[in-house]
């Protein structure tokens, strides 16, 4: 009898304990399944295979990343997540994160404009992962290496050339009585005259400008082989700089000709030429994709060399923007570097695709040949724009951007407004020089 009781008791205990155990297990499971817990983690840490990339132009560098994702044929299993951010945002967030040393929420790959590259590399040398071992540096155009490397280590994977050209509406030219030939290798003064005529003939302005963005100034400056800095990249070279004087004068001439549409952001800038509101776009070749996005204007565009300044050393060739890929020194850096090396770093066929699909001109020398370069673009009236751009690339005067280009830009933006407001040019540049010296000291 006693035995029976003991047995019953034992059974009871086992069942009860099992029930309790079950309860705990279930609790744990629901805890793990709780969606709020999983969501806290940021994408880069989320999945080992995930790498994230930030870029800003959906027509251009984002498309390039998508093509790279398709072209990737490396060993590792890479899931690329591409996030579009405004360039200013990217810069701001990089600065915030890198200065605090917190990599959380940061991407693995980030696109940085060459003008800014040195400021990041020098300010946060440990934040970037050197990719010297993943690419052959000699395969890339020389002028891209200086801004993207530091102390002999290659940090940036050079992407687009940024070679500048003047995109111009042939139909508007014709309406004003000009041909494409008339805008080949002209000066800025000639450009202004043509612009006036076009405005008279069509009612459309010649170009757009964002008063806060001195892209045009930089194009002009570099075309004359000068920059904001001396060759050392850090000594401001603003006053007593004939090239800058000529640039400012040309800029004022354009403005006073009243042939400029004002824009305040990128979408207005793109919208202006897509809507046919302006006759020309003097900028980097990376705008090709945005220009060709408006298919109704096919055949109405041509690309010619930049107008030049009337100063010693002036050329019709310049550069604007141009950017490179950087790998942040965080989890997944090897995979990200491997991905870049496999695509932008070595894949010639991929560069052909870049040209064919989005008209992007890379700086990977082995990729700068082949049928795609000879391709005649319907949109540009059969012009071999890639071949032309490549040709111009060789003629771009090399300058040292240094690490403070945009700091000077900000100073110059204010001073240029003063200049437009009839402040003597000498004073304008003197003031700018002293401000720059104070700020960069």
């Amino acid at each position: 009898m006693k035995k029976l009781w003991m047995m019953l008791f034992a059974v009871l205990m086992v069942v009860t304990l099992a029930a309790c155990g079950n309860g705990e297990d279930e609790g744990d499971e629901t805890g793990a399944d709780d969606p709020t817990e999983g969501d806290i983690e940021e994408a880069p840490e989320g999945d080992e295979d995930d790498i994230t990339a930030w870029a800003w132009d959906p027509n251009f560098n984002i498309r390039a990343l998508e093509l790279a994702d398709d072209a990737y044929d490396g060993d590792a299993d890479v899931e690329l997540e591409i996030i579009e951010n405004a360039q200013d945002d990217i810069v701001q967030r990089l600065n915030t994160s890198l200065s605090s040393g917190a990599m959380q929420g940061m991407p693995n790959i980030v696109l940085i404009e060459d003008y800014r590259a040195q400021s990041f590399l020098q300010a946060y040398p440990d934040a970037f992962y050197p990719i010297t071992d993943y690419i052959n540096v000699d395969d890339f155009a020389d002028y891209k290496i200086e801004p993207t490397s530091l102390d002999g280590e290659q940090y940036g994977l050079p992407f687009d050339s940024g070679v500048a050209g003047l995109y111009i509406r042939t139909d508007y030219l014709e309406e004003a009585g000009y041909s494409v030939e008339d805008v080949q290798d002209i000066t800025w003064s000639e450009y202004v005259e043509i612009g006036k005529d076009i405005k008279e003939a069509t009612g459309n302005n010649m170009l757009t400008q964002d008063p806060g963005d001195l892209g045009l100034i930089r194009i002009m400056l570099q075309s004359a082989g000068s920059w904001y800095f001396e060759d050392d990249g850090s000594t401001p070279n603003l006053d007593n700089n004939p090239a800058l004087e000529a640039t400012a004068e040309a800029y004022r001439e354009i403005m006073e000709a009243d042939i400029v549409s004002m824009v305040s952001d990128w979408s207005q800038f793109v919208g202006a030429f897509n809507d046919g509101a302006v006759a020309s776009v003097p900028t980097g070749n990376w705008i090709t994709a945005s220009v060709t996005a408006e298919e109704s204007q096919s055949g109405d565009w041509a690309v010619v060399p930049m107008p030049k300044l009337e100063v010693d050393g002036a050329t019709n060739y310049s550069n604007l923007g141009g950017s490179s890929w950087y790998v942040l020194n965080s989890d997944g850096k090897e995979k990200a570097a491997e991905f870049l090396g496999n695509t932008f770093g070595s894949n010639e066929a991929f560069y052909q695709d870049l040209i064919e699909e989005i008209g992007a001109i890379g700086t990977y020398l082995p990729g700068l040949q082949g049928d795609a370069f000879e391709m005649e673009h319907e949109f540009f009236g059969g012009q071999q724009i890639i071949a032309d751009f490549s040709e111009w690339t060789d003629n771009i005067p090399a300058v040292n951007y240094g690490m403070h280009t945009y700091a000077i830009d900000d100073i110059m933006a204010v001073e240029l407004q003063e200049y437009l407001n009839d402040k003597p040019l000498e004073d304008v540049l003197n003031d700018a020089q002293s401000q720059a010296e104070t700020q960069l000291r």
């Binding site: 354009i254 006073e256 004002m262």
Partner: protein, 595 residues
């Protein structure tokens, strides 16, 4: 039918067990079910109470977020409206490039400065002015053109109510997200002329960040405007739908200052907590799906499983325990009911539980006592009967003596001393045999001698018209028989059988038949009518002539001495005579026992 009977029998036999077990089963089930459900109900209520309190706090916190956003929006718009540079630039008409450039530059500087406070919310600021002038501080968030903005209904409404900040929800194809836009017309302080408009847009996903961390499945937050349009929701399928009913419930909940109300949404019970967002002129609603929240936090299934397990265990135990108790009781009852069949001689098995063992012991004890008392009673009855017989045996009728002696006197007077002598002799022998010996039984030859003496006396008195013949088997002579078993029948034959016939014969036959001794007294007298083969009852009035022993006594005495197999039987026929048969066991002299 037979099976039914069998089942019924089984029920009757196990009745106790079935009753006990079903009562316990019923109680356990009732208690378990009641406790289980009340536990679930109580914990649910308690949990929901706590949950709604917590959520009210959370909603207040979210409200603070929303309010801080709307406050920032309001202060931003205010700052823009009060900014002279912005006002001048927006009001300017038809400018050349240089002026325009300066204006753009200045307004951008001002706006950039003002925008920083909104940047923290990831909101976008757009200011429009004359012609197609538009300043979009973060075009990535909401790329628009002036033309597009002017075509919007919200712009129209803004200009209709230039003094108010209005919030609108807008679906944008461009960024695949809804934007919530705060709009305000920019007016001249004095003339009320409109010189531009401000749009502060925030993506719905950004707005959702204000509360998303607090929501979970079944615990949703909904932002609803005065038209009942759902502006933002953690449940994306609700977005853009119009639910005026929900809005009015939210309004009444908020106005009545209730912590929460219960609402029925799509057939499910929800708790609704609501807060009014004055900046937005919208209601922030927290919807808690009672069932889902409870089911995810209170594991009803587990509680039911545990209860079920306990019930099952309890039942198994109750089954065994009840079965043990009732089984021994049932067995006891069955045994007791069979006791009568065994003349109360069989004892009961003392097994089973303590209680039934005690009962069985008590019962056995009672049985033993009973047996003892019955023995005593039987014994005392026998003793009484024997003493009765003895006393009867000793009651020699004085009339008999008197008559016999009178006869003898006459014999002597008539001068027949021989005759007198033999009669006196017979009387002496008879009396000696009757009174003298103490034993109960005597041999057959002794009985016959007594009988002969009795017959001699009777014949001396009444003459020899009735003759008596003896046929005794020689092997019977030494067999023991009870004393005076023939005499009552001889007497009966002498005095009652020959009332009509005046003469006849009485035959006495004694022989062995099988294992019995048969003694017969046969007369050829008048005979009588008998209903059965029973002895006629002794007539109480008719006194026995010789001793107190009557025919009936003889029968009873034999049965008392030897059992029901033995006794006296009678057959009689009118006019032919009577036959008395006495059946006795064969008991030899040496086996003689005193009973």
């Amino acid at each position: 039918m037979k099976r039914f009977e069998k089942v019924k029998q089984l029920f009757i036999r196990n009745g106790l067990f079935i009753k006990l077990f079903s009562v316990t089963l019923f109680s356990i089930l009732l208690v378990s079910i009641f406790i289980t459900f009340s536990t679930i109900r109580v914990s649910t209520d308690l949990f929901m109470e706590t949950f709604s309190i917590t959520n009210s706090k959370i909603i207040q916190q979210i409200t603070t977020q929303f309010n801080s956003y709307s406050a920032t929006v309001a202060s931003t718009i205010n700052e823009i409206e009060n900014n002279g540079v912005i006002k001048r630039v927006l009001s300017e008409e038809e400018m050349d490039s240089v002026t325009l450039s300066r204006s753009y530059f200045q307004i951008n500087q001002e706006l950039d400065r003002i925008y920083t406070s909104l940047q923290a919310f990831d909101a976008n600021l757009i200011v429009t002015g004359q012609e197609d002038r538009l300043y979009n501080l973060s075009y990535i968030y909401w790329p628009v053109t002036k033309y597009y903005l002017d075509s919007l209904e919200m712009t129209e409404r803004t200009f209709e109510e230039p003094r108010a900040i209005n919030y609108h929800a807008l679906d944008t194809a461009v960024i695949e997200d809804e934007v919530i836009v705060a709009t305000k017309a920019l007016t001249e302080r004095l003339s009320d002329d409109i010189y531009g408009a401000v749009y502060v847009s925030i993506r719905e996903s950004q707005l959702r960040d204000f509360y998303e961390g607090y929501t979970s499945e079944g615990n949703d937050v909904v932002l609803i405007d005065q038209d009942g349009q759902i502006i933002s929701s953690s449940q994306s399928d609700l977005m853009g739908t119009v639910d005026t009913n929900l809005r009015s419930i939210a309004e009444s909940t908020y106005l009545s200052n209730q912590e929460h109300t219960s609402v029925d949404i799509e057939g499910r019970e929800h708790l609704l907590i609501s807060e009014y967002l004055p900046g937005f002129d919208m209601y922030l609603i927290n919807l808690i799906d009672r069932q889902q929240i409870v089911s995810s936090l209170i594991n009803t299934r587990e509680i039911l499983m545990i209860s079920g397990g306990i019930i099952l265990l309890a039942l198994v135990m109750v089954w065994f325990v009840t079965r043990r108790i009732t089984k021994s009781l049932t067995r006891l009852v069955r045994q007791i009911s069979k006791i009568a069949q065994h003349n109360f001689s069989e004892r009961i098995n003392e097994t089973g539980g303590y209680e039934s063992r005690q009962i069985a012991q008590a019962f056995n004890h009672t049985l033993d006592e009973l047996q003892t008392y019955v023995g005593i009673v039987v014994e005392s009855q026998k003793r009484q009967q024997r003493s009765e017989l003895k006393s009867l045996q000793h009651q020699i009728n004085p009339h008999f003596l008197y008559n016999t002696l009178t006869t003898v006197k006459f014999m002597v007077k008539q001068g027949d001393p021989e005759e007198a002598m033999s009669t006196i002799h017979a009387l002496i022998t008879l009396l000696q045999s009757t009174l003298g010996e103490f034993g109960e039984t005597i041999t057959v030859s002794k009985e016959i001698e007594n009988t002969k003496n009795y017959v001699t006396i009777n014949q001396a008195r009444y003459g020899d018209r009735i003759k008596v013949n003896y046929f005794i088997a020689p092997d019977c002579e030494s067999i023991q028989v009870p004393k005076l078993i023939l005499q009552p029948f001889i007497e009966n034959a002498f005095f009652h059988a020959f009332n009509q016939k005046k003469s006849g014969f009485i035959q006495i036959l004694i022989r062995k038949q099988e294992s019995r001794l048969l003694a017969e007294v046969v007369d050829d007298g008048d005979g009588m009518t008998l209903k059965t083969e029973e002895l006629p009852h002794d007539n109480k009035k008719k006194r026995q002539l010789f001793s107190g022993i009557g025919m009936r006594n003889v029968h009873e005495r034999i049965q008392l001495m030897y059992g029901k197999d033995y006794g006296v039987s009678v057959s009689s026929e009118i006019g032919k005579g009577t036959r008395i048969t006495i059946e006795l066991p064969i008991i030899d002299e040496d086996q003689h026992t005193d009973i």
